[in-house]
Amino acid sequence: MISTYVLSQIANGFILGSMYALIAIGFSMIYGIVRLINFAHGDIFTIGAFTTLVSVAIAHLPFPVVLIVVIAVGAFVGILIERIAFRPMRGAPQVTGFIASLAVAIILENLAVMTISAQPRTFLVPAYFNTQIAFGDLSLRVIDLVIVTLAIVLAAALVLFVRFTKVGVAMRATAENYDVARLMGININRMIMLAFAIGSGLAAVSGMMWGSKYGQIAPFMGLLPGLKAFVAAVIGGVGSIPGAVLGGYLLGLSEVLFVGLLPPEYSGFRNAFVFGALILVLLIMPNGILGRSTETRA
């Protein structure tokens, strides 16, 4: 018999995992198509959170509209970053893109500090999000269910889109080989733009969830979840969307269980645990669980 405590920890793991999964999808898609680890991805997560705050607290938009606004803003920023920073250095060595994305992250974070100050802000959510629902002994908030459902629906929709639509096939072809894809009449730039738009939109949604769940947002909030989602993407296999989702849930669950089940004096080591896991996975299974071996990582 599993105790209620463990059950609620597992639920928390799924919630955290949902958010990691949505960010990790973006990492994976962008990596799959341009071989770039986009460090600024975590900041799009932050932008998503602040967009939600503005549209809920100032514009008083209803929730479904907020969701669309957040996805749109995230996608727009993603496209903008790709166009301004990454497109001019396409074809440069891997590390160049990585440094560029670091620079973009610094720019976005400092812009956020300059415009909205570094102070954390309280996040306002509609009251019904905090209503408790009981499942036997386990009680969850509405927002928890919304997070998990929304994450699963979005991830499933994306997997279906990439697998079965014409555009999805074109995206996969681009990820496989630029030149051949171009010969097939695919507009490479548009596909790359689309990957950035989708990935960034999902990261923004994740930021919205994070704010609603934890009730506080700050300009630097995106750094750590962004990095951890990268770990999730590596665990699942970078480049694979189902892998990113799987990695997100695995990481979310194991992180929460690490903190929840071990004695409290270990809970401070949760970041060490996550990055230790990253190094371990990279060494043992460099291609992740669902990734394919395409290049040397280790």
Binding site: I37, A85, P88, M89, A92, Q94, V95, T96, F98, I99, A100, L102, A103, V104, I106, I107, E109, N110, L111, V113, M114, A118, L223, L224, L227, F230, V231, V234, E265, G268, F269, R270, N271, A272, V274, F275, G276, L278, I279, L282, L283, P286, T296, R297, A298
Partner: protein
């Protein structure tokens, strides 16, 4: 003959540098002096980061982690046992009772960081490109969470404050000179050529009998050694160390110096480190009066993007600027230094 001449030039350079430092300490105010100190430490850190990131192109972001390790150990070793008894009650006996002078403490801190680099390096340095970058970045967070949680050694998130202000320009610039000398010697020695060979083609290098893994770890450990000393110098300049003293942001700033200066160019990196330290300091009052905190960071980041787009090899590429090769020719000989300019 040549040896005596080189010695003469070195002695002359050292005398000039020493008199400049003496003049500075006599005339300048403490604030300016501390900036000159940071400038030197930054040069040291950036140039030593260049051993891994420039010579072998192992893209490491781990310097802040090694600075934290070196900084804490140096601070603990320098502290008086009586203070340790109050601040750090659960230190192991051998640390609690010993107190070292600054120099051995710094060197121990550096060696400790280098040891950590060897232990971490053997598994992690098998990774490539941005996988290595993220793994070393993860290492920063791992060290940070140890620093927060091992409060018996570190006083946790509070950090160690009120450290003695032992770092002065003499210490800083002695180590700057040492770092520059060692890096210069490495670059122009068989080890350095081995590193460049690995950078250009690992397989070919291995076929030539270069021990790839060992050379990598050596480069990583050397960089970590100087990072550890740099950390020790830094914390005794600001008289404070906390788990958040050296973060990811520091890694970015150091990488910027290496990238802008030219990955592999010692002079370029050192020059950019100097210019960046001074300009950040000059921009600070501007930021404060205009209330635009973070503006200088943005400017630097934009410059990085522009350099990456328009001059991806950095200002100097891998080469050292001409006046130096002119100098070494003038010094008599060594003009047949291999031209490292030709890569790419």
């Amino acid at each position: 003959m040549r040896g005596a001449r080189t010695l003469g030039w070195t002695a002359l350079g050292a005398t000039i540098a020493a008199s400049l430092i003496y003049a500075a300490t006599q005339t300048l105010d403490p604030y300016t002096l501390s900036i000159i100190g940071f400038m030197g430490i930054n040069v040291m850190l950036a140039v030593s980061l260049n051993i891994t990131n420039g010579f072998i192109v192992l893209f490491s972001l781990g310097h802040p982690a090694f600075m934290t390790l070196g900084g804490y150990l140096t601070a603990i070793l320098v502290m008086e046992p009586e203070r340790k008894a109050v601040m750090l009650r659960s230190l192991p006996e051998f640390l609690a009772s010993t107190q070292l002078p600054f120099l051995p403490a710094l060197l121990t801190g550096g060696l400790f960081a280098a040891l950590a680099a060897v232990i971490v390096g053997f598994p992690v340095l098998r990774l490539r490109g941005h996988y290595l970058a993220v793994a070393t970045l993860g290492f920063i967070f791992i060290v940070q969470s140890f620093a927060v949680n091992l409060s018996g050694f570190t006083r946790g998130a509070l950090g160690l404050s009120g450290l003695p202000a032992l770092t002065n320009l003499w210490w800083v610039y002695t180590f700057v000179a040492l770092t520059l000398y060692v890096c210069w010697q490495i670059k122009h020695s068989s080890i350095g050529r081995a590193m460049l060979a690995i950078r250009e083609n690992e397989l070919a290098a291995a076929c030539l009998g270069i021990r790839v893994a060992r050379t990598r770890v050596l480069a990583f450990a050397l960089g970590a050694f100087f990072a550890g000393i740099g950390g020790g110098l830094w914390v005794h300049l600001v008289t404070l160390i906390s788990p958040h003293s050296f973060t990811f942001l520091m890694a970015f700033q150091l990488v910027v110096m290496v990238v802008l200066g030219g990955t592999g160019s010692i002079t370029g990196t050192a020059l950019v480190a100097i210019v960046l330290t001074i300009s950040t300091e000059l921009l600070r009052p501007l930021e404060e009066t205009a209330g635009l905190f973070g503006a200088s960071q943005i400017i630097v980041a934009v410059i990085v993007l522009l350099v990456l787009i328009f001059r991806p090899t950095g200002l100097f590429g891998t080469a050292e600027p001409d006046f130096l090769s002119w100098l070494s020719r003038f010094r008599g000989g060594r003009s047949q230094r291999p031209n490292t300019n030709q890569q790419r």
